[in-house]
Symmetry: C2
Subunit: 199 residues, 2 copies
DNA sequence: GTCTATAATGTGATAGAC
DNA sequence: GTCTATCACATTATAGAC
């Protein structure tokens, strides 16, 4: 890995761990083992480095959502994504950025964050639509809304887990919404058969 | 309002708006209109002031959860609390603190945050238990888990709204979980009558 | 309680040699 | 590309007079 890559990777780590405001260029080059001259050769400013790191963090995260894509039982894909192992006490690389005023108030820095969430939302909407079309989820559920609900459960679960310094609340939040989802599922798996087939 | 109170109130505002790391004692006294001597007379350090501000922010927030308490239809109380007006783009005064490493890693500063979430969770559990006991929500739902789910939807809704700079995703997340909750409700309001009365 | 002066340390760069 | 030197300014205080 060359110097530039090390700087980007390290800035990405530190932005995840400590945020943007609380990470200094010095912190980055000390952890990366890079001299000051090199740092300012590759990046004109802290913000430039942050933008590169942010784009990298976003790119790191999106492949995980491929669980939602592909063929096969949509409900199984939903569960696979929700149940994917996550380090609840570390939180979300991307979601974390929304709490950094210097990121939130800078349209250029916020753009990759907004774009990432928009893409995840699109994937959720697709799989939820499939589940509804297949009759696995109730027809009266709104896929766009529900997608935001499921994303919020993950993001909010991190907040609760960090507050308690315990991954339990994250698991609870996730398992709780899965329980609700299953409860409003239709079909043979439902312990409460759907008697409302009129349309 | 005396000097000390002004310092605490202003620190509280700035910690909400900008977080702990990115707020300097100078920022606080300039906004509060307080001199440096006074500030260090009342608070020995930035951390001391932050602790007072944090406790105040927590105390400000808890009364809102009284929607969940009291008598009357538990489902109505749940909806009242969820639908309470919130400024989605400002986020949660308390939840925000979990993203500040200097707060998260300081047990003394994190304690009021953990305590506040624990209290809100307790109130949620009570109202959810009532709803289940009254037969309004399905017996197979776990109140402790569901409480974390509903709290996570609020906290995560803020994250999504800030990412998009649009309160829409917050409302979606909240309305989506309400829809799920109603869908797994029992009783006359349910468009899908419960046929599973066996216990 | 409030004021001004002082200071050690950190931040976020720029300049120019190698 | 990398290095060291330098710099203006901010941060987080402390000291002591009023």
């Amino acid at each position: 890995m060359d110097t530039r890559e090390r700087l980007v990777a390290t800035m990405g780590e530190l932005m995840w761990e400590r945020g943007y405001a609380d990470t200094s260029p010095r912190d980055v080059r000390e952890r990366a083992g890079v001299g000051q001259g090199s740092q300012y050769h590759h990046f004109r400013s802290k913000r430039d480095l942050a933008l590169a790191a942010l784009e990298r963090n976003v790119a790191d995260l999106l492949p995980a959502t491929s669980d939602l894509d592909g063929a096969g039982d949509p409900m199984a894909r939903i569960e696979a994504y929700l149940l994917r192992p996550r380090d609840a006490l570390k939180g979300c690389k991307v979601g974390r950025m929304t709490q950094d005023p210097q990121v939130r108030e800078d349209p250029v820095l916020l753009a990759p964050v907004a774009e990432a969430f928009a893409q995840v939302h699109d994937r959720w909407v697709s799989v939820l639509r499939e589940a509804i079309a297949a009759g696995v989820l109730r027809q009266d559920l709104d896929p766009g809304r529900l997608a935001h609900t499921l994303m919020a459960v993950i993001q909010g679960g991190y907040v609760l887990a960090i507050a308690q310094q315990d991954p339990g609340p994250f698991r609870d939040a996730r398992d709780g919404v899965l329980e609700l989802l299953r409860a409003s599922a239709t079909g043979a798996d439902d312990p409460r058969p759907n008697t409302d087939e009129r349309q």
